[in-house]
């Protein structure tokens, strides 16, 4: 029993965790460029963080840090209330 467990642990330590798929760590573009401000009035800039369906792209994909992602979501939601950004993809 004891031996079993220690063996298992040994195996785990030996394993190397590699990032799958991506070669480079994504950086939050708002942290990288301080001049880039998050503003709900800037529909064009915010539009970069929307999917084709009009959904907010998760930070997992864009690489935004959580602080800026939070600011971004409120900005997008504000822009939506004044019809600068869509809630959903345009309806034919």
């Amino acid at each position: 029993m004891m031996k079993d467990r220690s063996e298992r642990r040994g195996k785990g330590e030996g394993r190397t965790f590699r990032r799958r798929g991506m070669g480079r760590r994504k950086v939050c573009r708002f942290c990288a460029d301080k001049a880039m401000l998050i503003d709900y009035k800037d529909a064009r800039g915010l539009g970069h963080f929307l999917s084709e369906r009009g959904k907010i792209i998760p930070s997992r994909i864009t690489g935004n840090c959580s602080r800026h992602q939070r600011q971004l979501t409120t900005a997008i939601k504000r822009a939506r209330t004044v019809a600068l950004l869509p809630f959903t993809a345009a309806y034919p």
Binding site: G23, K26, D33, D39, H48, I61
Partner: protein
């Protein structure tokens, strides 16, 4: 009571036409001043396409007001605007005291020197894979 910096973006029904909007802008200005606010600037964005249909309209006129007022005054200003029929939507946001005033519309954009489209660096990530 401490006054704060606010800005309000107002979406106006396009049926008013240019003179109607001008008149409304003057009225809102008066409204803010009556509530003890001081106007910083008023920006006219002109008629813009809406992201979705509002009141059966595809386009609408946008007005931006920057001003200082108390929170009570803001509540009254918002209440009044909501009662105005030609005001379709509005959003009020408190601005940081040291925030620069909103630059005129034409230069309003994310400052990105490279004009790269969004997905671009996502593709690059794939290419750099060993």
């Amino acid at each position: 009571m401490a006054d704060r910096r606010y800005e309000t973006l107002v979406v106006i029904h396009p049926d008013q036409g240019e003179p109607g909007v001008k008149e409304l802008a003057a009225r809102i200005r008066k409204l803010i001043e009556e509530q003890g606010g001081t106007i910083g600037q008023i920006q006219e964005w002109g008629v813009r396409d809406l992201a979705y249909v509002v009141a059966k309209q595809h386009r609408a006129f946008y007005l931006l007001f920057e001003y200082r007022a108390t929170s009570k005054a803001l509540a009254e200003i918002e209440r009044n605007l909501k009662l105005t029929d030609s005001v379709l939507r509005l959003v009020s946001v408190r601005q940081a005291e040291n925030a620069p005033p909103t630059p005129p519309r034409t230069v309003r954009r994310f400052e990105r020197e490279d004009g790269e489209p969004e997905g671009a660096d996502r593709e690059n990530l794939g290419e750099e894979m060993p």
